[in-house]
């Protein structure tokens, strides 16, 4: 079967005052209808990877790749119209913080129907119905009420659900979730993950899940890419995480304190120059 997403030697660079910043440096991976996690420390290029795939690299960023294709479509050659057709309907992205990623002056309902009406030729009433269904699907207890609320009127967890509803209402085949839960409380975090999990399972989407929390990723995804300084340093199935070989991955696994474990002092990561090379 052809992979849903193919990334070959993707790099993202930003020309700045102080020279080129290489945010992503030649990464390659394939994604099927599965959950792929990307982990790495802050600044390792996770978000840039996700955005490059969605064609959302802001200027003056330069995206280069040997191949970047989504279910057979060459994204490198896609024009604005192709992108517009694809984004939101076939591929979607969830951003980290609902507080900032929902338009503050539009009701939640409107933001969801907007996606729908933009991509599908539906009546207002139909759009509204589907939006309400979607809100229900993300386990919002009172969809009618939430439909008419503004983003500032809902809690973080609720906002994140609305965001998910907005992105998934057209039923995309690929979903990129960029730290979708890191702004949320642990307990809420799990609920949101549960929703994502169910949607992926039910609809057979491909999911790229970006996080800096290795523990979370390992418990949620099927496969993990470990990034360091813009490169993939290791790629593993979550089941094999225990046998990770790269010292960076090992370090990440070790250095978080866990309940009921007593290691004083905690092992720390000794960064090696050659990891970044």
């Amino acid at each position: 079967m052809m992979p849903l997403l193919t990334v070959r030697n993707l790099s993202v660079t930003y020309p700045t005052r102080t020279g080129l910043v290489e945010a992503v440096r030649g990464i390659s991976f394939d994604l099927g209808r599965e959950r792929l996690g990307i982990v790495g420390e802050s600044g390792s290029g996770k978000s840039q990877t996700g955005r490059a795939i969605m064609g959302l690299t802001p200027p003056p960023g330069i995206v280069k790749a040997d191949a970047l294709s989504f279910s057979g479509i060459d994204l490198l050659k896609a024009g604005p119209a192709t992108w517009r057709d694809m984004r939101g309907s076939r591929m979607a992205m969830i951003l980290q913080d609902p507080k900032f990623s929902l338009n503050p002056v539009m009701t939640i309902g409107r933001q969801i129907t907007e996606t729908l009406r933009h991509h599908e030729n539906v009546t207002k009433r139909e759009a509204q119905r589907r939006a309400l269904d979607m809100l229900e699907a993300v386990q919002i207890a009172d969809p009618e009420r939430v439909f008419g609320l503004y983003p500032h009127e809902v809690s973080g967890g609720m906002g994140q659900r609305a965001m998910i509803a907005m992105m998934l209402v057209c039923g995309p085949e690929l979903l990129i979730a960029d730290e979708p839960t890191s702004a949320l409380d642990v307990t809420v975090q799990l609920e949101v993950l549960g929703i994502l999990d169910r949607l992926v399972r039910d609809k057979g989407m491909g999911l790229v899940f970006i996080s800096h929390d290795l523990r979370l990723v390992s418990s949620f995804c099927d496969r993990v890419l470990v990034m360091y300084a813009g490169r993939i340093v290791e790629e593993l199935a979550t089941a094999d995480l225990g046998s990770a070989t790269h010292p960076y991955t090992r370090g990440l696994l070790d250095c978080t304190p866990k309940i009921g474990e007593s290691r004083h002092p905690l092992p720390v990561l000794e960064r090696q120059k050659e990891w970044a090379a």
């Binding site: 420390e41 802050s42 973080g156 409380d185 642990v186 307990t187 809420v188 975090q189 799990l190 609920e191 993950l193 549960g194 999990d197 800096h212 929390d213 290795l214 523990r215 979370l216 390992s218 418990s219 949620f220 370090g251 990440l252 250095c255 978080t256 304190p257 866990k258 309940i259 009921g260 474990e261 007593s262 004083h264 002092p265 905690l266 092992p267 720390v268 990561l269």
Partner: protein, 252 residues
């Protein structure tokens, strides 16, 4: 070790009619490391800030080192004895001042001389060389900044350190370094810690006892050992505990 150093009874804090903390009571022994956990908005920071005199206390008592504190006035001795480290290393250092200036400030306020030596010593203690002395915060990484914040707290040789999520803004790998540093400093100086975190792992790692908070109230107080052994009373604590283990399909 001995004696209670912080005793808080029935403490309430109200912001413009909103009760952020209601009837919270804890006591912390000298030399102990005490943890506060709970979800966002549960009043953890508010509790710490109330001790520091940065929150509008509306009821209850706070006693530190045998001194009853009233209102937001604090004695000079208190100001030296109690220091705080904040969550966000990006926000807790003055962006327009060099590390040197920031470390000098407490010395100047308390009229402590010999500043050069003290600054270098404090930097050394948190594992930063003298080359960091004249840098600005933006020239430092998050972990380094948090070290500077810790150095700033230590430079006046306090007895009590209030730590408000000192590592939650840091990467896991850096977090470990900072946690190790905090432990090391505590054992070296015999400090008392009150540490806030939403990460149960971090709290149990650092603290012997902890209080679990929910919407401004203390749900329960228990030891880390009990927590690890799942010997908790409240459901809420259990939920937190499960959640902190990561995602499991069954859990939801």
């Amino acid at each position: 070790m001995g004696g209670v150093t912080i005793r808080i009874e029935n403490l309430s804090v109200t912001f413009d009619g909103f009760r952020a903390l209601s009837s919270a009571s804890i006591s912390v022994d000298k030399g102990e490391s005490f943890g506060l956990v709970g979800e966002s908005g549960s009043g953890k920071s508010t509790l710490l800030r109330a001790v520091a005199g940065l929150a509008p206390v509306s009821g209850g008592t706070i006693e530190v080192n045998g001194e009853m504190l009233s209102g937001n006035r604090r004695s000079r001795a208190f100001r030296r004895a109690v220091q705080m480290v904040f969550q966000d290393p990006y926000a807790s250092l003055h962006p327009r001042q060099t590390v040197d200036r920031q470390l000098l400030e407490p010395l100047a306020i308390h009229g402590i001389g010999d500043s050069d030596k003290r600054i270098l010593k404090a930097l050394d203690e948190v594992g930063l060389g003298p080359s960091f002395r004249f840098r600005y915060p933006h020239q430092l990484s998050g972990g380094q900044r948090q070290r500077v914040a810790i150095a700033r707290a230590l430079i006046v040789e306090p007895e009590i350190l209030l730590l408000d999520e000192p590592t939650s803004a840091l990467d896991a790998s850096v977090q470990a370094e900072v946690l190790n540093l905090l432990e090391e400093v505590r054992s070296r100086h015999g400090l008392t810690y009150v540490m806030v975190s939403h990460d149960l792992g971090v709290v149990t790692h650092m603290c012997s006892r902890l209080a679990v908070m929910k919407s401004g109230e203390i749900v329960e107080t228990l030891s880390s050992v009990d927590l690890a052994g799942s010997r908790m009373v409240s459901d809420y604590t259990r939920r937190l505990m499960v959640a902190s283990k990561g995602f499991t399909r069954e859990a939801v």
